[in-house]
């Protein structure tokens, strides 16, 4: 495997990691607020904050990791995306900043505040929407380069069925992933009322998730024929994705083995996300950046991969420790520690 391919695979794994952990976080923020306005907050908010408090910072790192790695492996990405994304990128930063800091203000600070809660919940849905714009742009047709100046075609973006279907998919996926995780976590905590509530959320959000996946697929066929054809060739990956979705739904519906159900949801998104990503190659930004022509120099690419492997030796045990302490420690989850 060439170092460019290893590079993009590593980055894609991290983006996938972010997709899962951030979805849990963003969705949880929304559910926490929703439960509050429907007066069910006493049922699940304790559960949500017990999970989120030790891990929110880790979630943020996944994201930083991805974009730093992207710029490192493919410096031209900084030029094109950086030039085009000033406005939407800045808005996403502001939303992330408000969300991250307000979380800390609310949870570690003194009094619970309704405004913090609302902003926390609302940004939880706006951030995935704004971040998904970067994925939309990568399909090409929204960024132009004239006389050495890169700019974003706002009107094209706002009127494209594809960009809207991606936004819709991002939001419903967040709610679906988050609710299936919370179902698992509530079962783990043996918290029956919370389990009943989040289980219903999971069943409810599964429907729009599948619909949005299909519409995005169709919209993509209209927008980028090449990418669509590549994805058709990788049909088995999407087949596996749907298969795992069905396993997850069956388990949740039956009300048993929620851990396995959540793993199935992770695999569902894993195959869909990697099928999408593989179909996208060799372009990172159609037609400006490909992984082969715009990668960093070999010496740096190899240094980054070595750093990455070294880093993993440090991170994986630490992450396992964190999970052992807060995710799989039954007493902690139940609120006894």
């Amino acid at each position: 495997m060439s170092y460019e391919l290893i590079g993009i695979t590593v980055l894609w794994i991290f983006l996938y990691g972010y997709l899962i952990v951030a979805s849990i976080d963003f969705g949880a923020g929304f559910f926490a607020y929703y439960a509050k306005i429907t007066k069910k907050d006493h049922i699940i908010n304790q559960l949500i904050s017990r999970y989120l408090s030790p891990v929110w910072e880790v979630t943020n790192v996944f994201f930083v990791f991805f974009f730093v790695g992207l710029v490192g492996f493919f410096p031209d990405a900084a030029y094109y995306y950086g030039s085009a994304l000033l406005v939407p990128g800045s808005i996403a930063i502001v939303l992330l900043a408000i969300r991250g800091s307000f979380y800390a203000f609310e949870n570690y600070g003194s009094k619970k505040s309704n405004i913090y809660m609302f902003l926390y919940g609302a940004t939880g849905l706006l951030i995935p929407a704004s971040l998904s714009i970067a994925l939309t742009l990568s399909e090409g047709g929204f960024i132009v380069e004239t006389n050495g100046e890169v700019s974003l075609l706002f009107n094209e973006l706002l009127t494209s069925p594809y960009s809207w279907s991606v936004v819709f998919l991002a939001i419903v996926s967040v709610l679906f992933i988050s609710s299936t995780f919370l179902t698992f976590y509530a079962a783990r905590a043996n918290d029956k009322p919370a389990l009943k509530l989040v289980k219903n959320y999971a069943l409810f959000w599964s429907v729009p998730t599948i619909i949005a996946s299909l519409t995005t697929f169709i919209a993509l066929s209209q927008h980028n024929e090449r990418h669509y054809q590549n994805m058709i060739d990788l049909w088995w990956m999407f087949g596996l994705s749907i298969g795992f979705f069905m396993i997850a739904m069956w388990l949740i519906f039956q009300g048993k083995r929620y851990g396995l159900a959540f793993i199935s949801v992770m695999l569902q998104f894993f195959f869909a996300f990697f099928g999408y990503g593989m179909g996208h190659l060799p372009y990172l930004l159609d037609p400006f950046i490909t992984i082969y022509e715009n990668a960093t120099h070999q010496s740096m690419g190899i240094a980054l991969i070595i750093a990455f492997i070294g880093g993993l030796f440090l991170l994986i045990p630490s992450l396992l420790l964190l999970m052992k302490m807060f995710l799989f420690d039954a007493d902690y989850v139940k609120g006894k520690k």
């Binding site: 995306y81 960093t296 964190l322």
Partner: protein, 448 residues
């Protein structure tokens, strides 16, 4: 139009960094203090120190949150505001940037673990051990990110052909000539500033309320740390000046208004320049600049006459340099006086005037840090990548930077105000006397 984008990009970057480094500094230095306090508490079996660690940590989390989000902001802004720079430099500096996120990752994982396991382990040392990775993670992220900044000052480890970067040596780029002194100076001054801020808070409480054993111990610990870190910072500053004299003479010369290359050069404190670039009302210390630059009062120091006029930074950085040095000396002096007073029985180390000086030292140390960074950054003008790329060629061409500037200004005002409000509330609603009584009943009485 183009010029506006450059200016606004510079202002936005300066604002984000200026705001971020307050929290980044606390993020690097405070974990060290927390770890020391908890360790002393466990070793001496003194609950006061462990309470100190606990309360510092609680406040620390709030500042970390702001540090994380503003750090994310500057991370993205590098590409959003300086796409041309990142396209070139990204090739060479991505390794330390990448490593920095690893260090950050490491810290983030263990911070969560540390926060939620205070009473979870039978042996308290187990909990203290969790603070070590936090210290390592936060200090190493400072180290890695500082190497990136050092690279911008003394770029090495690559060759440039027709505007394209070729043959890269990532390790050499990271360990460039500016790295050792910069890393040393950044770490020592971060520790110094954090200790000084914690000392200032403690001194403030002692001055306002009746003092207690808890606060006295806190003050002694923080001021002692301030003194030790101030000594280290002074050594680091001296090493930095010698580095500048050798590798970036124009930066040292502009800080000292040293216009002509000469032997036995004067160090100039303050003053101002007239239209002919003569220094008016400055305090001249004969030969001291030569000593600072080369360790020899008679050595030759390169002046600004050796550089083209359009490659010299604005002269006002002189004041930044002077203020940084003065405030560093102030921190050293105040903490030394306090320590002498604790040793001499008949002198009261909690005298009102000394407490006031210690209170002032907190914000002043933070200001010194800001001045130091402004000097380091503006002193490199007009280069973004010294000798390779000028700032005006690096900025984005987007016309919307001005609106973004105000968007971020509003964000930082909001975050700054809320951070202070939340911290005040947090400590006011939960006074230490009450918390000590709850956790260790009867402690205040038998400790006196």
């Amino acid at each position: 139009m183009e010029f506006d984008s450059v200016l606004m990009s510079r202002m936005l970057t300066a604002m984000t960094l200026g705001f971020h480094i307050i929290f980044a500094t606390i993020g690097v230095g405070v974990p060290v203090m927390i770890s020391i306090a908890e360790f002393i508490g466990i070793k001496k079996k003194d609950p006061h120190y462990r309470m100190l660690a606990r309360r510092w940590t609680r406040g620390f989390v709030i500042t970390v949150a702001v540090g994380v989000v503003t750090g994310t902001a500057i991370g993205l802004q590098l590409s959003l505001l300086w796409p041309n720079f990142m396209q070139v430099a990204g090739n060479v500096i991505s390794l330390p940037l990448f490593l920095e996120t690893f260090a950050f990752f490491f810290e983030a994982i263990f911070l969560g673990a540390y926060l939620y396991t205070w009473d979870r382990f039978k042996n308290p040392i187990t909990h203290w051990l969790l603070s070590i990775p936090i210290v390592i993670g936060s200090s190493f992220s400072a180290v890695f990110i500082t190497t990136v900044n050092a690279f911008m000052n003394t770029p090495t480890g690559f060759t440039m052909e027709n505007g394209k970067v070729t043959s890269i040596d990532p390790i050499q780029a990271m360990l460039n000539p500016a790295t050792p002194t910069k890393v040393f100076h950044v770490l020592s001054s971060s520790y110094l500033t954090s200790a000084a801020v914690l000392a200032a808070i403690t001194a403030f409480i002692i001055l306002r309320k009746k003092s207690s054993a808890y606060y006295k111990k806190a003050l002694k610990l923080t001021v002692t740390a301030t003194f030790l870190f101030a000594v280290l910072t002074a050594i680091a500053g001296d090493a930095s000046a010698k580095f500048l004299a050798e590798h970036q003479p124009e930066k040292l010369a502009v800080a000292e208004w040293h216009f002509e290359t000469e032997k036995s050069a004067d160090l100039i404190l303050f003053g101002y320049l007239n239209d002919e670039n003569d220094v008016i009302n400055g305090i001249h210390l004969p030969g001291v600049l030569s000593f600072l630059a080369n360790g020899d009062f008679n050595s030759e120091v390169t002046g600004l006459d050796q550089f083209p006029e359009d490659e010299v930074a604005p002269y006002w950085v002189h004041y930044m340099f002077d203020l940084m040095v003065m405030l560093g000396m102030f921190a050293l002096a105040v903490s030394l006086i306090y320590l002498i007073f604790t040793k001499v029985k008949k002198w009261n180390e909690h005298a009102k005037w000394l407490l006031i000086l210690l209170i002032a030292n907190g914000p002043l140390a933070m200001l010194a840090l800001e001045f130091g960074w402004i000097y380091a950054e503006v002193g490199r003008q007009p280069w973004i990548l010294r000798g390779y790329m000028k700032v005006e060629h690096a900025a984005t061409t987007s016309p919307h930077v001005d609106i973004m500037f105000f968007l971020f200004l509003a964000l930082y005002i909001l975050l700054g105000v809320l951070c202070v409000v939340v911290l005040r509330k947090m400590f006011r609603n939960n006074p230490v006397e009450q918390e000590l009584e709850e956790r260790y009943p009867g402690i205040e009485g038998d400790d006196q």
